[in-house]
């Protein structure tokens, strides 16, 4: 049986977007040109949410659309969901500016 589907927007991305709900332990198939990638989800990934395609260390840039969408705030395991609990945007951050980190 083919895996659940997720879409990758650019070959350099380290996350893919689930286009159906993915249960923990399910295999996810991600079309990439003529080939496809495969990753096993380690937790529930709801429709429209992102899954890590490989292990992402804390502080590493997270890429979608071939571009930066933020950085990892904790180490992210392969197959884990990537969202606001482990990804932070780095632009327009007045809070960092105020603390002298912007």
């Amino acid at each position: 049986m083919p895996g659940k589907r997720a879409l990758i927007m650019h070959p350099s991305d380290n996350v893919a977007t689930a286009v159906e709900e993915i249960q923990p332990g399910e295999e996810v198939t991600i079309p990439l040109g003529k080939d496809s990638l495969s990753v096993r989800a380690i937790e529930l990934i709801p429709f429209g949410f992102k899954i890590a395609l490989h292990e992402i260390p804390r502080g590493e840039i997270i890429r979608k659309y071939g571009d930066t969408i933020g950085r990892a705030t904790t180490p992210i395991a392969k197959g884990a969901m990537v969202h606001i609990h482990n990804l932070e945007g780095v632009r327009a951050r007045g809070d960092l500016e105020r603390r002298g980190e912007g």
């Binding site: 977007t17 709801p46 969408i69 632009r91």
Partner: protein, 395 residues
């Protein structure tokens, strides 16, 4: 390809055929209540106590609506609280709308027998004007006469991967045909401005795009807030968008891939054709009226909807005279509000259509609506007030 439109004296082409009465107020509202086919505006501001810069923005909005190709003729009244400022005086507005060579009438309560007299005269004039307008016939014209405006909203991840790409295809197609297309929402290019700047036709336009984003980012930082408490908005986050950068990189797909000809102010008319970036704000009560004033004859709201469960009826956004379309790629949004939605491209996610095939279908929907088929929101009377994008303090 082509659509059926109303050719105006200045060569522009309307997708609708209205008489416009401006500015807002009891004179305009009374005329429109009395006369079929007359339209007016509702805003929260007349310009009183506004700076010269903001008054000029209001004037651009009013003049631009008057010059919109969907307007056959215009009545301007002189009884607005803002009319004492030269920028907003009835004569100034009328003179600039007259550049479009359409019929313009001025009502002045001081000369026309007070407010009651101006209303009575306006009703008489408007009846003749809508009758005259109705004698004009639609004719077949090329797609170079389409002028589009778009915003994406309640964005979720379906917006970036399937909804916006279908709109982007439409944008590319209309620009290739010689038409005009506008997109904007400056906060939502932060994190994607470098991608857009590369598409500018020259270094000045590239600089203007980067500057618009930088100024907006500086304003955000000056608040001392974490932008994530503001934007992405809660419905974006609920829909799977994790950061402003992710939202921006998905949002720019609605603008297609054409070169960017220039950066426009809110409600500014583009000089020439092609794709333009508008330095505006995302609010739906603001942005579409601005596109209408810039000359749009079709506008689209590309809806995500991950966070809008329970909304089974979608009211349109104020455009005054321009057909407004809802599009979505979110299957749940579509299922919940099918009779409000003009176009669905969730097929791209379901794997039954490519973004190009969906975009081609959207193009045919747009042609139909440009030619006179009502958009879903046009079947409702309900309209909210316009929130003009005024950025300076009030005094």
């Amino acid at each position: 390809m082509s659509f059926l439109g109303y050719v105006r004296p200045d060569g522009s082409v309307g997708t609708r055929n209205y008489v416009l009465v401006i500015p807002q107020g009891i004179i305009s509202k009374s005329i429109c209540d009395f006369v079929v086919g007359a339209k007016t505006i509702v805003t929260t501001d007349h310009g009183s106590g506004r700076t010269a810069g903001d008054r000029e923005t209001i004037a651009r909005l009013l003049i631009g609506l008057g010059r919109n190709p969907n307007v056959a003729s215009v009545i301007v009244h002189a009884a607005s609280p803002g009319a004492g400022y030269p920028e907003l005086g009835a004569k100034r507005l009328a003179d600039e709308i007259a550049a479009g060579k359409k019929r313009i009438e001025i009502l002045d309560p001081a000369k026309d027998g007070g407010t009651y007299g101006a209303i009575a005269k306006g009703i008489q004039l408007a009846r003749v004007m809508v009758y005259e307008a109705s004698r004009l016939r639609r004719v077949e014209v090329g797609d170079e006469h389409l002028c589009l405006g778009v915003k994406c909203g309640y964005s979720d991840t379906t917006s970036g991967i399937a909804g916006n790409p279908a709109v982007g295809y439409l944008y590319d197609k209309i620009v290739r045909a010689g038409g005009t297309a506008m997109f904007g929402e400056t906060t939502e290019i932060i994190g994607a401005e470098h991608v857009l700047a590369k598409r500018a036709i020259n270094p000045e336009v590239a600089r203007a795009i980067l500057d618009a984003a930088a100024i907006q980012e500086a304003k955000a930082k000056a608040t001392g807030l974490d932008i994530r408490t503001v934007n992405p908005v809660p419905s974006n986050i609920k829909g799977g968008i994790s950061s402003l950068e992710e939202k921006s990189l998905g949002a720019i797909h609605k603008a297609g891939t054409a070169p960017i000809q220039g950066v426009l102010k809110y409600a500014e008319r583009p000089k020439g054709t092609g794709l333009f970036f508008v330095d505006n704000w995302m609010g739906h009560l603001s942005i579409f009226a601005g596109y209408a004033a810039a000359g749009a004859n079709i506008v689209l709201f590309q809806l995500g909807g991950g966070g809008v469960t329970g909304r089974t009826l979608l009211e349109g956004s104020p455009t005054v005279v321009v057909p407004f379309l809802w599009t979505t790629a979110n299957p749940k949004t579509y299922a919940a509000a099918k009779d409000s939605i003009d176009f669905y491209s969730g097929t791209v996610i379901e794997g039954t259509e490519t973004p190009e095939q969906a975009g081609e279908r959207l193009y045919h929907t747009v042609r139909d609506i440009a030619s006179g088929t009502l958009s879903r929101s046009e079947t409702l009377h309900y309209s909210e007030p316009i929130d003009m994008y005024l950025q300076q303090p009030r005094f």
